[in-house]
């Protein structure tokens, strides 16, 4: 191990400098305000959790977890997501009355980077969990709130792609019969390897009709029309139920007036085995990775309570990148003073702070390069030297 330089940070850890902090703070506030207006209550959970509980329940790969040991020898993890900790709190405390619960959070999560730089290992997620209600209205509310939050944050161009875990699973079971064979095929979808998927389907001993049904799966992308196409290739059972749910969801989203932001994509599958219904990802035009995702999950059961929930998380760092062009205007006033007029300067500053204005008090003798310093402010006042009658 080479000796570290004093400026170095662990791989993937980043500083938030004032300008970025301010931007982040403003966007977080706007989104948090929206969530609160919809009745979601914010909670906090610890940064450290047990590996055996949260670490195991979380959908994040084991090698991405930051692990450490506590004094008793238990392995701890830095929380890799917020869904698992909230499921833990919900199962042990908040669902006692068996009512719908709406929770929100904004918190940093930690995922170690294996391969290379270019991605943070610590980043902030802001999101909600709508717990203990399994209606389409609940799914719809979550997606509508997501869309509303992003619009409030100033994001103009984005898309939510919605799929359903039940559809592909049922289609595979209907045609392939066994879980093992279905899993083998689903792996190709999860790996986004459509070439491999087609080759695998074509290598199976199936009727050409069944092959066609399987090969059409990843073409099921688009608006409302996808529902009809999907019904054509599924026979019955839970797969059909999944499509009926999506149809209802579409109607709910239409009533919210947000359908222009939504598309179906039935080929979305997740490695997160805890998803049990709809699932979705959010994309912005100018960012190469999804800026958020969510879905209906049964994770709470792992913590001993039979309940499902729907939630979403938006990555604040990705959202900031997507909002890159949007400039925040903030006025900053600087009051330069010298000893003689210090009191006057303090009074002016107090007055401005009282009006909610940003005002910096700066002793003029403390600045070496006045020109460079002045450039950082939109406005300045000089209260310097002996009082003259000007």
């Amino acid at each position: 191990m080479s000796r570290l330089f004093m400026f170095e940070k662990p791989l993937g850890m980043r500083d938030t400098l004032p300008e970025l902090y301010e931007k982040k703070h403003q966007i977080r506030s706007v989104i948090a305000e929206t969530m609160k207006l919809w009745g979601y209550q914010f909670i906090e959970t610890p940064i450290l959790e047990y590996y055996e509980t949260i670490g195991a329940a979380s959908a994040i790969a084991d090698q991405q977890l930051f692990k450490l040991l506590d004094k008793e020898g238990h392995t701890l993890v830095l929380r890799p997501d917020m869904t698992a900790p909230i499921a833990r709190v919900a199962a042990s405390k908040l669902l006692a009355e068996d009512l719908p619960v709406r929770l929100a959070y904004s918190a940093n999560v930690f995922r170690a980077q294996q391969r290379e730089g270019g991605r943070p290992a610590e980043f902030e997620q802001i999101g909600v969990e709508f717990l203990n209600e399994d209606t389409v209205s609940c799914d719809g509310e979550t997606i509508a709130l997501l869309i509303s939050s992003l619009k409030k944050a100033g994001l103009a161009q984005f898309q939510v792609s919605v799929g359903h875990v039940g559809f592909a699973q049922e289609l595979f079971m209907q045609i392939l019969g066994t879980n093992g064979r279905a899993t083998a095929l689903r792996k190709f979808l999860y790996e986004k390897n459509y070439v491999g998927y087609r080759e695998h389907v074509n290598s199976l001993q199936l009727s050409s009709i069944d092959k066609q049904r399987l090969l059409q799966l990843h073409q099921l992308r688009g608006g409302e029309e996808v529902i009809g196409q999907a019904l054509d290739i599924i026979e019955n059972g839970t797969g059909k139920q999944a499509i009926i749910e999506l149809k209802e969801l579409w109607d709910v989203l239409k009533d919210y007036g947000v359908q222009e932001y939504v598309k179906f994509d039935l080929s979305i599958v997740s490695h997160m085995s805890y998803y049990s219904g709809i699932l979705f990802e959010v994309y912005a035009g100018n960012v190469g990775f999804p800026i958020g995702n969510g879905g209906r999950y049964s994770l709470i059961e792992k913590f001993g309570k039979k309940a499902t929930a729907t939630g979403f998380a938006v990555r604040l760092d990705m959202l900031l990148e997507a909002l890159d062009g949007v400039q925040l205007e903030h006025a900053a006033h600087c009051i330069f003073f010298s000893g003689e007029r210090r009191k006057e300067a303090f009074q002016l500053a107090e007055k401005m702070h009282g009006q909610g204005k940003l005002a910096v008090l700066q002793d003029i003798t403390g600045v070496k390069n006045l020109d460079a310093f002045t450039k950082r402010f939109t406005d300045t006042t000089f209260l310097i030297g002996g009082r003259s009658d000007e």
Binding site: G118, Q157, Q159, S161, K192, N193, Y194, V195, G196, R198, E199, N202, Q212, L215, Q216, Q219, R221, K263, D265, E281, Y283, A284, G285, N286, V287, G288, F289, P290
Partner: protein, 220 residues
């Protein structure tokens, strides 16, 4: 909004075949395409921008979304395991990954050593065979390694087998067949779906006409 489609092209061996494929698909590529040393080439009339990358790096550009689409060998996809959609087998530049070594030799019992520029593929392959090997990472002229005793075996791309033969090496096992694939960034796949679907359809037609087997016929 932003309708320019950025395509990452692999420099070198695959480049010409890939460019020809795009031309056959009806895309008008600028004449400087073939000789230029420029790394970014615009085809303004088509709304396309090409970036010319090392073959091994194509999937990286596409995963990070700085290129929407790319043409990459299956060998690269297997090695890099990037989070990208593999949409189409372009069936160009066929070759395969193989295990090779000096004829009539056994791997070292205690610490079998394998030299390769595909450490991930090599390790995965040998592990699946129930063997733990030590990987030695090289960047080129892999054939040298067994000749001068750096390794017992190599894992490398074989197209004609000539390089192996001329260096007195033999192929022991064939790992996987390799052709070039059309890969797509997951966000672009959703946000620029119309343009990408068109590209896929047009390329697919060319591939089907060119190839005899119908493994991805009709459905794309």
């Amino acid at each position: 909004m932003n309708s320019i489609l950025t395509i990452a092209m692999p420099k070198g061996r695959i480049f010409e075949e890939a460019a020809e494929l795009l031309r056959k698909a009806g895309y008008k590529l600028p004449p400087e395409f073939d000789e230029s040393r420029k790394l970014i080439i615009e085809a303004a009339g088509e709304g396309l921008r090409f970036i010319l990358a090392k073959p091994m790096d194509v999937a990286t550009y596409v995963e990070h979304g700085v290129a929407d689409v790319g043409i990459a060998g299956k060998d690269v996809l297997l090695e890099e395991e990037r989070d990208v959609y593999e949409l189409l087998n372009l069936k160009i530049s066929p070759c395969y990954l193989a295990v090779a070594g000096l004829p009539n030799t056994q791997m070292n019992e205690v610490a079998p050593r394998v030299a390769t520029k595909y450490p991930n593929v090599a390790e995965t392959y040998f592990r699946a065979q129930g063997e733990q090997v030590e990987i030695i990472n090289l960047n080129g002229s892999i054939e040298l390694a067994p000749l001068i005793g750096l390794s017992d075996r190599i894992v490398d791309i074989v197209s004609t087998g000539r390089t192996l033969k001329e260096n007195g090496l033999v192929e022991y096992e064939r790992i996987v067949d390799v052709t070039s694939r059309l890969i797509v960034n997951p966000v672009s796949y959703r946000m620029k779906d119309a343009r990408i679907d068109e590209l896929v359809t047009r390329l697919h037609e060319v591939v089907v006409q060119g190839g005899s087997d119908d493994e991805n016929s009709k459905n794309i």
